[in-house]
Amino acid sequence: MSKDKDLVEKISRLSRLKIDENEIEGFIKNFKDILNYIDLLNSVKIVEDSKDIEIYNDYAVRDDSQVEKLSNEEVLLNASNKEGKFFAVKKVIEED
């Protein structure tokens, strides 16, 4: 169980989330059920380098021209903390 708990803690940190201590056990159970089910894919035979699995990404790119943008005020509209024209967060640069 503690190995599972370590993994959940690692993944939650990577996800920038925290799972409450009293919810961890239920979470691990559900997570394991889902991962076991997903392992079904191991039974799919894939012929590598086959044309069958060629994947294209033919997304459109718009013209490189100026487009209408949101104003500074509009961008800051939903920010909880702002200073002047900027979003406010705790200083991230170490002082000498």
Partner: protein, 489 residues
Amino acid sequence: MNKSIEDIYKGYLKKEFTPTEILNQYLDRINKVDKSLNSFTEIFETKVKKDSKKLDNLFCDEKNISNPLFGIPISLKDIFLVKDSICTCGSKMLKNYVSNYNSTVYEKLNNLNVLLIGKNNMDEFAMGSSTETSFFGPTANPWDQSRVPGGSSGGSAAAVSAGLSCISLGTDTGGSIRQPASFCGVVGMKPTYGRISRFGMIAFSSSLDQAGPITNTVKDSAIVLDAISGFDSKDSTSLNLKPTNSYQSLINDKFSFKDFVFGVPSSLLEEGLDTEVKSRFDELLSSLKSLGAKLIDIELPHAKFSVATYYIIAPSEASSNLSRFDGIRYGFNDNGYENQDLVETYIKNRSLGFGEEVKRRIMLGTYSLSSGYYDAYYLKAIKVKKLIENDFKEVFKKVDAVLTPTCPELPFKLGEKKNDPLQMYLSDILTIPANLAQLPAISIPIGLSSNNLPIGVQLASDKLNENAMMKMAYLIEQEVSFSKTSLNI
């Protein structure tokens, strides 16, 4: 109650009622019924009343009513941005988020003078099949209020079914339009991936998400599809195509069941189907045959891997898409930024702002994409997705549509699956393949169970083949003539 777009449009042309009179009928009904259904997150009563007054003046001159969507009361799943109003996406994270631009689909409908009544409840960030994960409480099924309306577009389907709005737009990533449409006895349609712009629609899984109409009739579905489809330079996955003309082809072309070949993937339907769903579906197949439709048995060998494939791709993309919600630029903020470092701020805002299912999916996605697992999970899933697409490609050489029940089961009880996410995921087993293969698909009501719950059938067609799909759906709709007389709400 339950007027179609055509009913209202004809009424306007004959001057039987004004836009304000129609709007008031819907608002009255919402006031009476929605306390028990909870299908709306917000009603724009003052604004929409003002809008309808404007239309009352325009409507005197017939020239102004040149499109069937004029003065139609609509609602939108609360995932579509409407400038200057709140868009919650069913989440505490966005409960105060004010949109500062319009989604393309809303912009298009607004230009056609629709009346936007409000926004519909939904599973948080469209993650769910029951509308129970909404921060704003679950929506009830109008046919039986102890049951779920399906999800994630459950508010939209419940509202259209109960006559609280004439049409609604939903979004469909793994069945989120079709499954609630089936559970609520209405028509729900997901077009080909890329048909409709996703600009201004909050992203869940970008390679699968697609908007579409939830309506009372197939014709209404066609009218809305034609109005909202077409290329949009603001969405890089938008297909460079003109809007569809499915409504015109529906009313002008001559067609019958004899023109179409339907494929039924029998082996996929051998297990797990509710007996009443199965018998109603089998009855439909017999009547289609007797009407001259050609039915053939087909194989989709990789379709059984759809749910597993989906639950790698969708959470992976969600974990990336939802990383934008940090509570700093927008979103729920716990307000203690001066005293904690940046990562702690993110963790606090996100942990308090997201609900349980959203956290689970973000973590599932982060896990599948993390170092050492990417090849085994995400890359593998992308390849299986391609194999599923190939299966359909092969099938569409022989058939015009693949026919299955929309859901393997009847609407389930509120709370029944809430603690068992895997069981909830499996209820999308028949709808997910169309998303993975990027196909258009539609759910139409075909009858009621012995305890008065709707049953739906799903038609999936080849990519970009919406016109033919609408024709087949229309023929089935006419044949079954589904009635709502036993809907008591």
